[in-house]
């Protein structure tokens, strides 16, 4: 990039940001790695147990079951939110005001505090005054998110889509609006159909932004905690006990050593996903 000059003094400008991240990110991470090798009764009395917690975790099917549930949820989230989000971004009117209004609309759920999101949705399903519950009653549909695992998943995916569709739409739209008009003119001269324009111009052009959106959505849905806990606390019968819910349970039970070992594994998982995305992005740039 011709706009950049080699100068290592630039690190001085990075220093404030890196110091803050060091305090709130690096130091706690090192501490977690450290705890993972101890049996902790109180913070003063702890015993070195080596890799015992890791061996225990990796040796039981429990971890893989939770990983499977988390991956299933992430897959559902991506399969629903990406086609829908891209479709909405394509539908956003070109006019300034109308376009802004749609973007503002989809951004609203993003500013709702996370612990209120389950409250809002459970209200809709409240047996006595919930609007959605009454609609289901009227058509005779027996919706039971508490004891029917399929219904719990459906509700979680719906809630997550309500919450996060705005992010996918905003990122897809930002990619679309960066496409120069000359591309469309060329396509019109060649007589390209709407579908051809989408597959050969729009989709390739928004791929880098979509990758970014995909990374954020995959990681955030893999580690979903607050909303999933609020809706059904991992039930029915642990069918929605995702990775982070199991970790939360362990922290609440004060099993600090095993909780730290779990945290380390999750962090490595997240880091691997991020690294894969980085490789994909770099291929994209080339």
């Amino acid at each position: 990039m011709s706009n950049q000059r080699p100068d290592n003094r630039a690190w001085l400008l990075m220093l404030p940001a890196m110091s803050v991240l060091g305090i709130v990110g690096l130091v706690p991470l090192i501490a977690v790695f450290n705890y993972a090798f101890f049996d902790i009764f109180t913070l003063q009395s702890r015993f070195w147990v080596g890799t015992e917690w890791f061996a225990e975790l990796v040796g039981t099917p429990d971890l893989y079951a939770a990983l499977g549930r988390s991956l299933l949820f992430s897959a559902l989230v991506v399969l629903v939110q990406f086609p829908l989000g891209i479709a909405i971004a394509l539908m956003i009117p070109r006019g300034r005001l109308a376009g802004s209004l749609v973007l503002m609309l989809v951004a609203i759920p993003l500013v709702v505090p996370w612990n209120l999101i389950p409250m809002i949705w459970l209200n809709l399903l409240h047996p006595t005054y919930g609007t959605v519950a009454q609609m289901f009653d009227a058509i005779g549909f027996d919706f039971d998110y508490k004891f029917n695992a399929v219904h719990t998943y459906a509700l979680l995916v719906t809630v997550d889509t309500w919450h996060w569709i705005g992010l996918v739409v905003i990122l897809a739209y930002s990619g679309l609006s960066a496409i120069p008009p000359s591309y469309y003119q060329a396509a019109r001269i060649d007589g390209a159909s709407r579908a051809q324009v989408f597959w050969h111009i729009q989709l390739p052009k928004i791929r880098p932004v979509l990758l970014m959106a995909l990374l954020l959505r995959v990681i955030d849905s893999l580690m979903i905690y607050v909303e999933a806990f609020g809706i059904n606390a991992g039930g029915p019968m642990g069918a929605t006990a995702f990775l982070s819910l199991e970790l939360g349970e362990e922290i609440n039970a004060f099993n600090y050593g095993p909780a730290a070992a779990r945290s380390v594994l999750y962090f490595l998982l997240v880091l691997t996903v991020a690294w894969l995305f980085r490789v994909a992005m770099q291929r994209e740039v080339k």
């Binding site: 990039m1 706009n3 950049q4 000059r5 080699p6 100068d7 290592n8 630039a10 400008l13 990075m14 404030p16 940001a17 803050v20 991240l21 305090i23 709130v24 130091v27 706690p28 501490a31 977690v32 909405i88 539908m91 009117p93 300034r96 802004s100 749609v102 973007l103 609309l105 951004a107 609203i108 993003l110 500013v111 505090p113 996370w114 612990n115 209120l116 409250m119 949705w121 809709l124 005054y129 609007t131 905003i170 930002s174 609006s177 932004v209 954020l216 990681i219 955030d220 905690y225 607050v226 982070s244 939360g248 945290s263 962090f267 997240v270 991020a274 690294w275 995305f277 980085r278 992005m281």
Partner: protein, 262 residues
């Protein structure tokens, strides 16, 4: 025909997004528990009056606004120089910085909650809005750097050089020249910092077990054996006001500047 279909689809979207909030707003305007002077089931502003009659709830509004403001100020003041460095210079390890930022942005709060609690207990940052402000930098600094970097890179380099030829120092250049030019980027960065900080619950919960509770935790505390759901919903509606106001301010720029370099 296509126009009608599109309008219908956008209307369906509006119902899906707004619908769940409508019931919450209606409940917030309804009497849901007996209070003096009103009957259960009536329309009334009693829930909103009760918020301002409760010192704990009023304090939580103040706490939330304090920590979010402190977080945005701290985040932007350290992210601006970093974004400038990444935009203008090549230096040892600059390509790795982006992966590092990504790693911090996506580290799940649950993973760090325990050591953060212990560290902040030692630093005396528990039960204070400033503890939350500091810990939320973990995911907001990376976001702010990405956004500001893309806005700064859109400014030609000659712009900096003219300012330096006029004899401006780097800090004066940032405040006096660069900030006005990338104001939309600062707005978008503020918006994303605000939303990720305002809505966060895991850190906010562990850092405020006995005091300094933000709105989110104050609402959790309202759930008792006889919950006044109208009051809960009134608090929820209030918690949306600052965010929706911010959306209005950045509406024309929200879709710019999230282009990330790998």
């Amino acid at each position: 025909m296509r126009g009608i279909l599109r309008t219908l689809a956008l209307l369906a979207l509006a119902v899906f997004i707004i619908g769940p909030l409508v019931q919450a707003i209606v409940l917030s305007l309804t009497v849901t528990l007996p209070h003096p002077g009103v009957t259960v089931g009536d329309w009334s502003l009693v829930n909103y009056r009760n918020i301002f009659a409760s010192p704990a709830l009023v304090a939580s509004l103040g706490n939330s606004l304090t920590y979010v403001t402190a977080n945005v100020v701290l985040t932007l003041s350290v992210a601006l120089p970093a974004a400038y460095a990444l935009s203008r210079y090549r230096f040892v390890g600059d390509r790795h910085v982006f992966l590092l930022l990504l790693a911090f942005r996506i580290t799940p709060p649950v993973v760090l909650s325990l050591p953060i609690f212990l560290l902040f207990a030692r630093l005396g940052l528990l039960n204070s809005p400033f503890g939350i402000a500091l810990v939320h930098c973990l995911f907001n600094i990376p976001i702010a750097i990405w956004i500001l970097e893309s806005f700064i890179s859109a400014v030609p380099r000659e712009f900096d050089e003219t300012a330096f030829l006029d004899g401006h120092s780097l800090p004066r250049f940032f405040v006096g020249h660069l900030l006005p030019v990338i104001a939309p980027g600062v707005g978008v960065a503020c918006f994303f910092c605000f939303i990720f900080s305002w809505v966060e619950v895991v850190f906010a919960r562990i850092l405020t077990s006995t005091g300094g509770k933000p709105i989110t935790m104050a609402i959790d505390a309202l759930f008792t054996f006889q919950t006044d759901i109208g009051l809960v919903m009134a608090m929820m509606v209030l918690s949306l006001v600052p965010g929706v106001a911010l959306i209005w301010f950045v509406r024309d720029h929200i879709a710019r500047g999230f282009q990330l370099r790998a």
